[in-house]
């Protein structure tokens, strides 16, 4: 059987045009996806059953789902400052349950954005976000800027489907309709495909953005001969290109959010784009990584009022990045239990945070083995969303789509596991109150 119009559960492009061949409940072929997407759908080694261990250096023993779930509930219910982290490689339905569980245990919920596009949210708090859907950019953009991102590697079909090579209604010659500019500290594969590559000194993006703003505002005379390693001439040329666009779009990535300046870079980039709108039309959009990391921000915002890093210990949401993000809490050694689901803290947190996690009970819910499994006391395998489970995901531009189920498996879904943990936590808390 060939299933059409399948969504890819890998990157923020959320491609929805895949064709997957399923024979005997097994994926045998994946068409139209890029390599990384296809490999996720084909699947690889799974965690086969729930496991537990007391000593993190010891061996896991296989346990029943009930035992693992009950033990997880006990840990969370008895913890004073539990961290519930991850919430990226899953569907929105499970994220809603995550917010509820966090309320039940008075914990902190934090998403992987904490260590990637978190600063983008702070930039949005400062300046807003003039943006649009990817099809708007595909149809119209004649100037395309990639800043600190490398879609050729991280979002392999992005340039083909949405940003560069695709033909649009107005941009009807595809690649030839667009001028492509890449700002990056190194000459990436994406830069190799650009019309213009602007090499920025590491950590000096903010200054380059400021210089562009000055030139756009016709105050170029205040700009020194080189800024952030870029000759003024080049800046003037690029600024004129952007200003001359009928429709300009800036895609930005971790090179901008996680380099020196962080959210101030985003603030400055949004300001540049806002000011450019006095000339043509201009938009800006973060290149989100996981296929539904955007969905967590949406769910968390409509449920708690805040986009991420929400502390529910007061019974109402409290948000203060710098205080309530995972690494803030771990480094202050406040966390006394960690619940890692659909995201890998083990692989992406700094050593000091990892050290703290070594000292507290860790529950890991994931279909696959990861660095977080290494730190865990309890491991609960679940379905792979978008392959074994239907549900909602938000593309990087905030368009939500329904993921399809391709094969049936016996694993429970994240949502089912969360439901059971919530029920058990309520039982424990109810008994003690």
């Amino acid at each position: 059987m060939i299933i059409k119009d399948v969504l890819c559960p890998f990157c923020g492009c959320l491609c929805d045009d895949l064709a997957v061949e399923v024979v005997d409940n097994k994926v045998v072929d994946v068409k139209h996806a890029c390599k990384i997407g296809a490999s996720k759908i084909r699947g690889h080694d799974r965690i086969k059953a729930p496991m537990m261990r007391d000593d993190k250096k010891g061996e896991f023993r296989e346990v029943s789902y009930d035992e693992a779930i009950n033990e997880s509930a006990k840990i969370l219910a008895n913890s004073k400052r539990p961290l519930l982290y991850g919430w990226a490689s899953g569907v929105c339905e499970m994220m809603k349950k995550g917010v509820l569980l966090t309320e039940e245990v008075g914990g902190i919920i934090d998403n992987t954005a904490s260590v990637c596009h978190g600063p983008s949210a702070l930039g949005v708090h400062e300046k807003g976000l003039p943006t649009g859907t990817l099809g708007q950019f595909a149809n119209r953009a004649d100037v395309v800027v990639f800043w600190g991102c490398n879609p050729v590697q991280a979002h392999p079909r992005h340039m083909g489907r949405y940003s560069v090579f695709t033909k649009g209604f107005f941009a009807n010659k595809g690649r030839r309709s667009r001028k492509v500019v890449v700002f990056d500290v190194r000459k990436t594969d994406t830069a190799n495909l650009a019309d213009e590559y602007v090499q920025v000194n590491p950590g000096e993006d903010y200054m380059v953005l400021s210089a562009l703003r000055a030139i756009v505002a016709e105050k170029g005379d205040v700009v020194p001969e080189t800024v952030g390693g870029v000759p003024k001439e080049k800046l003037v040329e690029v600024a004129e290109t952007m200003k001359g666009a009928q429709f300009g779009i800036v895609y930005f990535g971790m090179g901008l959010t996680q380099s020196r300046g962080k959210y101030k870079n985003i603030d400055n980039a949004v300001s540049l784009v806002t000011e450019l709108n006095a000339h043509g039309k201009h938009s800006i959009i973060p290149m989100r990584g996981h296929y539904n990391v955007t969905g967590f921000g949406q769910v968390c915002a409509w449920e708690t009022g805040f986009v991420n890093a929400v502390d529910m210990s007061r019974g109402y949401p409290y948000y203060n990045p710098g205080e309530t993000c995972s690494n803030d809490l771990l480094m202050r050694e406040e966390i006394d239990a960690a619940f890692i689901i659909a995201g890998d803290a083990g692989a992406h947190f700094p050593a000091q945070s990892i050290a703290r996690m070594g000292k507290v009970p860790v529950i890991n819910i994931d279909p696959f083995h990861s660095a977080s499994t290494e730190m865990a006391n309890i491991v609960i395998p679940t379905k792979v969303s978008g392959v074994e489970l239907e549900g909602t995901a938000y593309r990087m531009d905030g368009v939500s789509l329904r993921m399809r189920k391709l094969v049936d498996v016996d694993f429970p879904s994240d949502e089912e596991v969360l439901d059971k943990i919530i029920a058990k936590v309520q039982e424990i808390k109810g008994a003690s109150s």
Partner: protein, 567 residues
């Protein structure tokens, strides 16, 4: 299900012509019935004011622009915090509440139904995800068609059957209730940073005018026999002198016969479109001209879009006006273009009584309601949260009921306001019956949901009932406005579908409401032409596949579907 008997109620039920009669109301299985048995739960209203549950025909309660408002404004989410209880989830926010507070606060005021005013089809799934989580109230939403390529192409090619087929398909795809038109054509022009300047300014690249868009959608709306008329946000919103465009927009629909017992045109938040003058310096109220038109013509209705001083988050599919606002006020600006369909903008702002511009806006909203003779023609709204959040409705009600209350407010407002407005000279004070019309009955009539049991208390209606702690015959609303406002802020009882959901302003139960949407059959060859065009649009221009586009049933778990047919 249980029975209920509300005794000694002073009832205002304008749809059934009940004007302050002392009576009992019986409820069974969530509906109003003739009489109740001896085992019914009895609530003694003790002569207190009883209204049908409030209905809000125009409010921005769910979807991507509401959520970008939350994401952009953590300072707003830090307001209005209330910790979770065994029954309720945590409340956050003032202008952009979280989904829980959104439902609870409506219910606490005696409101039981609210309609989201703008659903972009491509993002409708998101809208419904939020609507599904708003507790207690029933809802629906209006779907955006005013800058849609399918719409404009069909109009340019004079193919109304195809247009109807697309509107029907779009309502189905978005699970929408009605046809919303925002700044017709302007959303497309904004795709390249431009706008349309008036009704006869053609949309770039599409060669249709805003006038044609309004006219064709209005005609098709009536041929489709939709419960609601077209719902128009006029061109040139927020610009001094725009009242002329507004009047000319009214005229476009003057000769269109409504297919049902309702208006053939609803124009929304007209406060923002009743401005005279040529620039900010000489801006003035033209509510008199607008009200005069309404007084002479009964084919149209409007809502106020009342301004409330303090914090607001403006959000609208009118993208260009939001950019202009943000630049003028140096405020944060979010924009959300939607491929092939529309756009939107979100900008926070603060309305200051000492700004005469804001003073004039404040006055215009009230003038529209008070100068228009027929209370059914002007709905009370704040265009939440554009003019201010809906939690201020009780204050607006008292301003309509009391000249003294208005004078109290006027004392705070920049004096120049009163050279440019007529509010100071208006003596009219609305009564309990008028307020029932303006906050529930007319909303239900305008939306076309009377048949669905909304906005009234006749036998068979939904048992959505608000009891307020006020005795109309012992209360002079023209002077006791503080007492009245307090009563409207916290209902003594809010009953939703026969269940007490709030008591003295505290939530007592959190059932989930239903969602209304319309399915229209278009049975002619326009449907085939539409499908051909639609498939091409998906193949060439949409960034999602057609098979993944339409909102699936999973996102509307408690639907109420109304079927109609295109003739």
């Amino acid at each position: 299900m249980s029975e209920m008997l509300i005794k000694n109620a002073t009832v205002y039920d304008p749809i059934n012509g009940v004007n302050g009669d002392l009576m009992d109301i019986a409820v069974k299985d969530g509906k109003i019935v003739d009489s109740a048995s001896g085992s019914a739960q009895v609530i003694d209203a003790g002569g207190r004011l009883v209204y049908p549950g409030g209905v809000d025909a125009h409010s921005h309660i769910a979807g991507s622009k509401v959520n970008i408002g939350r994401i952009m404004r953590p300072e707003d989410s830090r307001l209005g915090l209330k910790a979770r209880t065994k029954l309720t989830r945590a409340y956050t926010g003032y202008t952009v509440p979280n989904v829980y507070a959104m439902g609870y606060r409506y219910a606490e005021m005696g409101y039981t139904t609210a309609f989201e005013a703008a659903i972009p089809i491509l993002k409708a799934r998101h809208t419904h995800e939020e609507l599904e989580e708003i507790p207690i109230i029933d809802k629906g939403g209006l779907t955006l068609f005013g800058s849609n390529w399918m719409v404009m192409d069909a109009i340019r090619e004079n193919d109304q059957d195809r247009l109807a087929a697309y509107v029907a398909w779009g309502l189905l795809a978005s699970r929408g209730w009605g046809v919303k038109i925002v700044n017709p054509g302007g959303g497309e022009a904004w795709g390249f940073g431009k706008n349309v300047s008036g009704l006869d300014d053609p949309v770039p690249n599409f060669e249709v005018t805003p006038r044609q868009i309004i006219r064709n959608l209005a005609e098709v709306n009536e041929k489709m026999n939709l419960p609601h008329s077209i719902h128009l946000h006029c061109n040139n919103l927020g610009k001094p002198g725009n009242y002329e465009t507004t009047l000319a927009s009214f005229d476009i629909c003057k000769d269109i016969k409504a297919s049902r017992d309702r208006q053939s045109l609803h124009v929304t938040h007209v406060q923002f479109n009743s401005w005279g003058g040529n620039h900010w310096g000489d801006m003035e109220s033209k509510s008199d001209a607008i009200a005069d038109y309404l007084n002479k013509n009964d084919f149209l209705t409007i809502d106020m879009g009342q301004l409330v001083f303090g914090s607001a988050t403006t959000m609208t599919a009118d993208g260009p006006v939001q950019y202009a606002n943000a630049r003028l006020l140096k405020a944060r600006w979010s924009n959300g273009d939607v491929e092939l369909e529309d756009t939107s903008g979100v900008t926070p702002l603060e309305y200051h009584p000492q700004s005469y511009i804001h003073g004039i806006m404040w006055a215009i909203g009230l003038e529209l309601a008070l100068l228009t003779k027929d209370p059914w023609q002007v709905l009370m709204t704040t265009d939440h949260p554009n003019g201010g959040p809906y939690v201020n409705y009780p204050m607006v009600m008292t301003m309509l009921m009391s000249k003294k209350r208005r004078e109290k407010e006027m004392a705070k407002i920049a004096e120049k306001t009163f050279e440019r407005t007529s509010i100071a000279g208006i003596d009219r004070e609305l009564d309990w019956y008028d307020i029932a019309i303006k906050t529930r009955a007319a909303h239900a009539k305008v939306l076309g949901i009377i048949e669905q049991g909304k906005g009234h208390l006749g036998v068979g209606a939904d048992a959505d009932i608000a009891i307020y702690d006020i005795k109309p015959d012992e209360t002079d609303a023209t002077v006791e406005f503080d007492k009245v406002e307090a009563a409207f802020r916290r209902s003594a009882y809010t009953i939703k579908g026969g269940e007490v959901v709030a008591r003295d302003g505290e939530i007592t139960a959190t059932p989930m409401g239903r969602t209304f949407w319309v399915r229209t059959k278009v049975d002619n060859d326009g449907y085939g032409r539409m499908m051909d065009d639609l498939k091409l649009k998906f193949k060439n221009y949409y960034s999602v596949n057609m098979a993944n586009y339409m909102v699936q049933d999973e996102y509307v778990e408690r639907p109420v579907v109304v079927d109609t047919e295109y003739k």
